[in-house]
């Protein structure tokens, strides 16, 4: 019997791993196990092009079953992993099947976080999977009043998409600004202004207390100050948690729930290895970061691809690949296209070094402990990319950048700096 890699999870991290194994010359079997019934598809368009109805499902499918088969990758879709025996190197699937592996790659991604109440009501949605998105789209195309719970990236993107389709939209979040924990107050203010400018009602510093409903269908939300917002559609976008339930009780180590411990993901070394013959990639994986001295779990599309490259090389026994894993994410809300390299945090010092927030064309450098932690920008993609080496090396900020007073009007804080 040939050697076999089993990849659990058929999202982009799993697919990228299968691809990378073939690129690295792996000649044994590759089996891709996916809990969803679909061929591997791309998730970022779910809240944008797919929800807006501009793209069909075909457009987001990344690889057909036939194309996978042509590369010698077997897709087991609609099958759920329920446990693993790392001694026998056996993966347990639902319906009682076992799958032997020589190497196992955990790529199970995330599950949408839910509130402890209200998800039994018609019209209350989460958005994580293609089926979620199709269900949401079926209702959002006719919805007149939409309430989005959560002003993170997903909530903001969903709000922008449904607002542009013509619905009245309200966003509710307990923090005082959208994206505050990631981007900080200055950019959070910008994002709030962009949404307000498009007529979105922002209810910030407010939590959800309960729903109003009629015959099992949501008709509104009640906020924690007692105010009521009518709604015929509610989207709960309050984050997601690693899909690791099936690994509990196995020898695969899981990180603690706190962000500084790896945020509940599969605990891996700096090359993605969790335990003998088991690796983890993508959203579910908390890789040790030598720079940060802790396990870091990132929910970024690029990270999945980066992880896949490293892990496929390790499985095939090639020279370890020294990849500079500079995280990247983007967000599209109306005509605001945010891009970020690095790991911005809401508590970082922020300096606008090019353009201006008011013109929504800017480059902002994030500093943590005087070192460059991230750059975030809009409308200046090439200038932003020039900062990647500074982010990768966590360079010390130049003195004049660190000392620059913040300009009150949101213009660049000083003369344009070169990375």
């Amino acid at each position: 019997m040939g050697r076999r890699v089993v990849v659990v999870g058929s999202g982009t991290a799993g697919l990228a791993t299968a691809d990378a194994l073939r690129s690295e010359g792996w000649e044994g079997d590759v089996v891709l196990v996916g809990a969803e019934p679909h061929e591997p598809y791309d998730r970022p368009p779910l809240s944008k092009q797919l929800l807006a109805g501009r793209w069909t499902t075909d457009r987001i499918v990344l690889r057909t079953r036939a194309a996978l088969a042509a590369d010698g990758v077997e897709l087991l879709s609609g099958r759920r992993a329920i446990g693993v025996d790392t001694t026998d190197r056996t993966l347990h699937l639902d319906e009682g099947d076992d799958l032997r592996y020589d190497a196992l790659v955990v790529a199970t991604g995330l599950d949408a976080r839910r509130l402890p109440f209200g998800h039994d009501l018609a019209g209350v949605h989460v958005l994580r999977t293609l089926d979620d998105a199709l269900g949401l789209r079926a209702e959002s195309s006719t919805a007149r009043r939409v309430v989005v719970i959560g002003a993170g990236f997903l909530g903001c993107e969903v709000a922008a998409t449904v607002r542009q389709a013509g619905a009245q939209v309200a966003i509710v979040d307990p923090l005082d600004l959208p994206l505050r924990n990631v981007l900080g107050p200055r950019l959070g203010t910008l994002v709030a202004e962009v949404h307000a400018g498009h007529g979105v009602d922002l209810h910030l510093g407010r939590g959800l207390a309960s729903y109003l409903s009629d015959r099992g269908r949501v008709t509104g939300v009640v906020l924690d100050d007692g105010s009521e917002l009518p709604a015929d559609l509610v989207v709960v976008a309050i984050g997601a948690t690693p899909a690791v339930q099936w690994l509990r009780g196995s020898a695969v180590p899981l990180a603690g729930p706190l962000p500084q411990d790896g945020a509940g993901g599969v605990r891996c070394d700096a090359a993605g290895r969790a335990v003998e013959a088991v690796w983890a990639v993508g959203d579910v994986a908390a890789w040790w970061s030598p720079q940060e001295g802790r396990h870091v779990r990132l929910e970024h599309r690029l990270t999945a691809n980066q992880h896949a490259q490293v892990v496929a090389r390790a499985i095939t026994g090639g020279q370890p690949r020294a990849l500079a894993l500079v995280p990247y994410f983007w967000s599209e809300q109306y005509d605001l296209h945010l891009q970020s390299y690095g790991t911005p945090a809401g508590t970082d010092e922020v300096h606008v070094v090019e353009g201006s927030l008011a013109r929504r064309r800017f480059l902002a450098v994030y500093l943590r402990g005087g070192r460059v932690s991230a750059v975030v920008g809009a409308g200046l993609p090439k200038a932003l990319r020039a900062w990647v080496p500074a982010v990768a090396e966590h360079r010390l900020a130049e003195h004049r950048l660190a000392e620059q007073a913040l300009a009150p009007d949101g213009e660049a804080d000083g003369a344009p700096l070169r990375a």
Binding site: P44, G379, K382, L384, R385
Partner: protein, 65 residues
């Protein structure tokens, strides 16, 4: 090898340019990929493969001959 670009998917992450600067560039205004070399030389193929593998928007497609 032949490189194909799906411009509508591109989100201007610049990963392709960092992987293979002699094959890809970005437009100034929106960062969308500019294909400099649709038929890369053999020495450029590894970079092109890396670009396709890393692109977070799956906008770089390769046709291997």
């Amino acid at each position: 090898m032949k490189i194909l670009i799906d411009e509508e998917r591109c989100i201007g992450a610049g990963q392709c340019v960092m992987a293979a600067p002699d094959v890809f560039d970005q437009r100034e205004e929106d960062g969308v990929v500019v294909l400099l070399e649709p038929d890369p030389a053999p020495a450029q193929e590894a970079g092109a493969r890396r670009a396709a593998a890393l692109c977070p928007a799956a906008a770089v497609l390769l046709r291997e001959h």
